[in-house]
């Protein structure tokens, strides 16, 4: 399995930090991410649906599938919330 380019460094601590940051962003869209044994992630929505995702790239494609539309980092409301 080839490592995702954005997840290649820092080991366990970096992974914990990454999940925390991802949750700040995903929370804006009503989603949450959980680390499962440092191997995969579990992505959940508020309706109780969950999906296992392998890496950070798949987080966004699966989140898009759960929500039915892309999660845009340029979204003004998201940028405003992160800037607070």
């Amino acid at each position: 399995m080839n490592e995702h380019w954005a997840e290649g460094e820092g080991g366990r601590r970096a992974r914990v930090f990454r999940v925390a940051l991802l949750n700040r962003v995903l929370g804006h869209f009503g989603l949450s991410l959980h680390d499962w044994s440092g191997a995969v992630y579990v992505l959940r929505d508020r309706k109780g649906s969950s999906v296992v995702v392998q890496d950070i790239g798949a987080v966004w494609s699966e989140a898009e599938r759960l929500l039915g539309s892309p999660l845009d980092p340029l979204d003004a409301a998201l940028v405003a919330e992160l800037s607070r």
């Binding site: 954005a6 966004w60 980092p73 940028v79 992160l82």
Partner: protein, 318 residues
């Protein structure tokens, strides 16, 4: 050691095959295997010439632009097997020529994502030939230019001077990260073609009018440059993966230096959804420690991109 692969792209009749034929004659090229889709009017007489039929496959879990070249995967594997078995002469570089109307992105995607390709080969450079007389023709050639690291402007001996200057400005607007050189009959020094350096984005704004598309010939494609100070690497990874998923169709290229607080910058290079492994450099070329990223695509606003990345970065530091 991985075998370098050079991708040569360019519109029909823009001089791809002439360039390759001249390169193969150059002593600095060493032994080179050549993979082509079509045997053009200009014959390449070479013992390691292979012809393939372009066959694209959709990448599992990928979006519509995440397409691989199945034929290329097969051919690259076969070349490795035959080289190891001594059935073909030893080669230390591969040139892949795309068809004139082809989108070069699937070749890049193949080399960066197929397990065999990325373990045994590395994409050394993307070279686009541009017809110095007729210029860019259609959205295909605009994309070929956007994806390139080197632009070879051909037929310089018969180009009209006014047209020559107009084309140079257009190319600099579309892809300010690429070095360009005018040529006659494909005469290019391989050292220039493959030295791997990118143009420094600091010189761009003044010289190229970066920032907005100019007229219908650019097909809505333009480039912009983002300047930031130090950026948290984890925040950047989250931001860019999210951005490419949401707007990968409109972002043809991202290339630049990122200051992540290390001894040197990280070199970032993406072609649509295909991301080169980030390269951590040992030091900075000068005292300027700003991060600078060039984006090439449609409907891009530098300020909007910068504000968004800065917000992600702030969260990482809070």
């Amino acid at each position: 050691m991985k075998t370098p692969v050079v991708l040569v792209t360019g519109f029909l009749g823009s001089g791809k095959t002439t360039l390759i034929a001249r390169l193969l004659e150059h002593p600095a090229m060493g032994e080179t295997a050549v993979i082509v889709n079509e045997l053009g009017e200009v014959g390449i007489d070479h013992h390691l010439l292979r012809r393939v039929d372009e066959r694209t496959v959709l990448l599992a879990n990928g979006c519509v632009c995440c397409v691989l070249r199945g034929d290329l995967v097969d051919e690259l594997r076969d070349l490795l097997d035959r080289r190891d078995a001594g059935e073909v002469p030893y080669f230390d570089r591969v040139i892949v020529e795309t068809t004139g109307v082809a989108d070069p992105t699937p070749v890049v995607m193949t080399l960066l994502t197929d397990p065999v390709a990325r373990n045994h080969y590395e994409l050394e450079s993307v070279v686009a030939t541009v017809d110095g007389v007729h210029g860019l023709r259609g959205p295909e050639s605009v994309k070929q230019v956007a994806v390139a690291d080197r632009l070879v402007i051909t037929k310089d001996d018969i180009a009209v001077p006014a047209k020559r200057s107009e084309l140079a400005q257009q190319l600099a607007r579309l892809n300010p990260t690429a070095h360009a050189r005018r040529t006659v009959f494909g005469e290019v020094d391989p050292d220039w073609l493959f030295d791997g350096t990118a143009r420094d984005p600091r010189e761009l704004e003044q010289t190229t009018g970066v920032g907005h598309a100019h007229g219908e010939h650019d097909h809505g494609v333009h480039s912009c440059v983002l300047y930031l100070d130090e950026v948290d690497w984890t925040a950047f990874g989250i931001w860019l993966t999210m951005l490419l998923q949401a707007r990968g169709q409109d972002i043809l290229r991202v290339k630049g230096f990122l200051n992540v607080g290390g001894a040197g910058p990280v070199l970032v290079n993406c072609v649509q959804h295909a991301v080169h492994p980030p390269l951590h450099l040992d030091g900075w070329p000068d005292d300027d420690r700003r991060s600078r990223l060039v984006f090439i695509g449609r409907d891009l606003g530098a300020e909007r991109l910068r504000e968004s990345l800065a917000a992600f970065d702030r969260v990482a530091r809070s």
